[in-house]
Amino acid sequence: MHYYTLMIVVGLFLLTCVTRAFPFLFTAKLAGNEKLQVFGKRLAAYIMLLLVIYEITPQAFTVYPFGLPAIIGLIVVILSHLMFHKPLLSMALGTATYIFLNMHYTL
């Protein structure tokens, strides 16, 4: 376990160094490549939604209660975020909903 975590930390440290120092190493070639910049931003957004699904795990949708606590929790997050625009509040409301529904369904 420690070896596994150590490898990940070392890998992430290198990744952070490489990605952040990148423009300073390859100045001329990629400077101001707007296409690549837009691509990076779009991909990051797609990955975030992939992670939402990853967090819930697709298995959850195949068995009772069919991922409903998570879906309703996410709807609460979305509505709260659109209405109040307070990230921490939205996260708290969504999580509270999820915990409540989860308890109710599993009992």
Partner: protein, 231 residues
Amino acid sequence: MRVSIELKQVFKLSIPTLFAYFSLSMLFTILWLKAGFAGYWAVIMSLFAYSGAVQFVVISMMQEHASVLAILFASSFIACRNLFYGFSLLDRFRPKPKWIKAFLMFGLVDAVYGVLASNPETPERDDTKFCLYATLLPYIYWQTGSVFGLILFSSLPDIKGLNFMLTSFFMLLVIDYYLVSRDIWSLVMPIVFSGISFLILPGQYLVVAIISSALFIYLSDQYKAKKTKGA
């Protein structure tokens, strides 16, 4: 001790970051401990990886016992937006002392980029100090938060489902992106790709879905470029 004007200026600019980074990295440590990993690794990871979204992704993948390579692969896609921050700061960082420059590059996170990009060099202040403080303060906030997570965790009641915080956090980023881009595909395709890849390769479906998304974005960009050229 006299506080320099640069530090004062940077501190004022960094107050929103103080709240955001402190609470976020505290949440990181709490979720890390919740996943059952040793606390000091959370602190070490914050010190060396210092990358918000990536650190959260790593928790969820480590929980599923994903391989080191799969974790780094997925992380590199998320970290790749950082590839571009430096470009607009090339000339500004060049004359700085070597070690300071190295730290400025390492610590160039979203919030720092925002502050530096919106506050260009002016003759009234020492720009080396300004850049250094603007990078150092968010780093300190992040580290303090991750240590506080250790303290807070022990006083937290054990509730099942608290890790939904992480899911909500990713959801917020999805909403924010959609509100700016109005890119409806960003809401549809990840669901489609996750479903298909899960059916085909349940063990590695996240990585497959990331590659599919990258391909889809690339191809749809090409298609759009062709269409505008033809019109």
